[in-house]
Symmetry: C2
Subunit: 341 residues, 2 copies
DNA sequence: CACTTGGCGTAGACCGATTTACGTCACAGC
DNA sequence: GCTGTGACGTAAATCGGTCTACGCCAAGTG
């Protein structure tokens, strides 16, 4: 209120009786600083409560900021990724900022662009809807790690779960329980475009392949829904109207929870309709829910993404690296053997 | 890969055959631009795919970035707030960035400092652990809106739920169902310090007041736990060991879900132990969970916080404003009448 | 003794935008 | 014809850091 503006490097320099460059050196721990000067400067910084403006630093140097773009912040799997990322960042001097995209496809590009405009030193992207071309160009400009995408680029790293084998685990589990009429609950076409390499696309393809391999081509049933639990709930309810399946393989846990909600609302239980999800969100293990799902360790993915990013930034690595997490089946009570008869 | 660096305002100016200042004017929609020039400059921007560097803008003007600090990103109530905030920001030209704090008290200050260093135009803070003094100083420097805090400052706005009346709703509901032995599950002392005005402090105080007013002083039982669902689960299980309460009023839904988990794991049901939460997180309404809770509309809080912030930024408002959301009881099946006998 | 060498510090260019101060031009009014 | 005025542009200062190039000095070296 009173004195207004915060101290600048100039103020610190004057206060310590040295040059701006000297202060800068001390801050950056650069070469060519005597212990005596370091002492004086540190004291001045302390005294004036000085904090370097990131915007000014970013103009020539780096911003010490990493950005992560999140579509749909409500998905608890993404928050696991963020948790892993923040943990990996402890003590590195880098700050993570999250740009929420929400909504539709263009929002992802908007959020990524916003991060780039803010001169972050590196970006973690999750949005599967952004085109490879666009990402490729972004990756040429700055370090980028893409989570959950199976295309392999020259210019960015990827961290993925093995969605194909994860889906096979889920399907094998259902087959073992005797299910034949298995529906797949997935998102809209744009996220499952064949060959696009998005997780949902691969899970869909692998579902189809598993059904065909089991000779169940006629039982194939793909249900499209939105991004939220509530959309999944409504579309699952509609699915029950005609010719109910005995099991539902959902594209992720959020959709699976919606399906489970529908099962409950329709007065059914897992004895009538089994549900398998994907991600092993925290809530899945809750005893009241007990959702069978595929664990792909979001925390490890976030951790890994940060490590790869830091390698690119600090060690100036440029050859692309691809890391894959092995999925694990978590059988719980939302799946049961199909009713005899 | 080839041409490297992105276009600057200088490039655009050269391409359009005008001065840098002219381009700047066009971008900012400032006064003194002929239609002809606007046309030429716009074309050049288009052609070069120019995007202004935020860091450079921030050095003199504003960054068009708003920051929100989130402790513990895993709490789904906070994601509701973010959802409300992003929605309110649509089309304003401002970008929201989230600084995750996680962990303990100091992390909140670290995250807020990081946002300030990044020259955001305004900050929404949720961390209840930061001292009023510190926030006061921050608020003197830049627009700040504090969510969920009942102290009234000269220098920042607040958006709160009416925690006192919300707690009264919850307790009245339990009394009505015949409960007398009601425990309160809350966080550690630092978040519930009497007089600090944090939501958890007020809920605790109001719980104590309600118990005393009902003549149940002897039944008061305050259980401390951590921040996560899992901590709540463990401490609730421990609580069951000796002399089980018939109802638990939890400080928020995340803790309530942990308590519910414990109830399930102990082989009990809501007929044995009723549970009330606070926040009305999405999962609370899931039929398998069906948690009785207090709705305080996180979405509206996020929306409101953004509006207040934009008022301070654009209209240069300086008198502090305080907005309160009225809580609503959502009775569900996690609470039942106490067993006769 | 002249000459390198390494340690320490400074001056000043630079990053890419905004903003201020000022110049020019056309036109209206007297 | 002279002057005042508003519209439109531009040059240059500025924001707060980083980084390069260079200067100075004391200690080795041949």
């Amino acid at each position: 209120m009173t004195d207004a503006r915060a101290a600048t490097i100039e103020d610190v320099a004057r206060h310590a009786g040295v040059s701006r460059a000297a202060v800068s050196k001390v801050i950056r721990n650069a070469y060519g600083v005597s212990p005596a000067m370091r002492e004086r400067v540190t004291a001045a910084i302390e005294a004036l409560d000085y904090r370097p403006r990131v915007a000014a630093r970013a103009m020539r140097g780096s911003s010490f900021t990493l950005g992560i773009e999140l579509p749909h912040i409500g998905n608890p799997f993404f928050t696991k990724i963020v948790a892993g990322a923040t943990a990996a960042l402890q003590g590195t001097g880098y700050q993570l900022i999250i740009a929420p995209a929400d909504e539709n496809g263009d929002e992802g590009i908007r959020a990524l662009g916003a991060l780039a405009d803010r001169q972050v030193d590196g970006i973690i992207a999750i949005s599967p809807l952004v085109s490879t071309d666009w990402l490729e160009r972004l990756g040429a400009r700055m370090p980028v790690v893409m989570i959950g995408r199976h295309d392999r680029s020259e210019h960015y790293d990827t961290v993925t779960g093995d969605d194909a084998s994860g889906t096979r685990l889920a399907m094998a589990h259902l087959f073992e329980l005797g299910h034949r009429r298995i529906a797949h609950l997935t998102r809209s076409e744009d996220v499952t475009e064949p060959g696009s390499g998005t997780p949902h696309a691969i899970r869909l393809e692998e579902y189809l392949a598993a059904m065909r391999a089991a000779g169940l081509e006629d039982e194939i049933r793909v249900v499209r829904t939105g991004m939220t639990e509530d959309a999944a709930r409504l579309d699952t309810l509609a699915l029950f109207d005609d010719d109910r399946p005995t099991a539902i393989f959902a594209g992720n846990d959020e959709l699976a929870l919606g399906a489970l909600r529908a099962v409950g609302e329709a007065g059914l239980t897992s004895a009538d309709v089994s549900v398998v999800g994907y991600d092993d969100v925290d809530m899945a293990s809750h005893p009241a829910i007990s959702l069978t799902t595929i664990d792909q360790s979001g925390v490890e993915m976030g951790d890994r993404a940060i490590r790869l990013l830091l390698e690119r930034i600090r060690d100036a690595r440029t050859e692309p690296t691809h890391f894959s997490v092995t999925p694990v089946l978590k059988p719980r009570t939302s799946t049961r053997a199909v009713r005899a008869g």
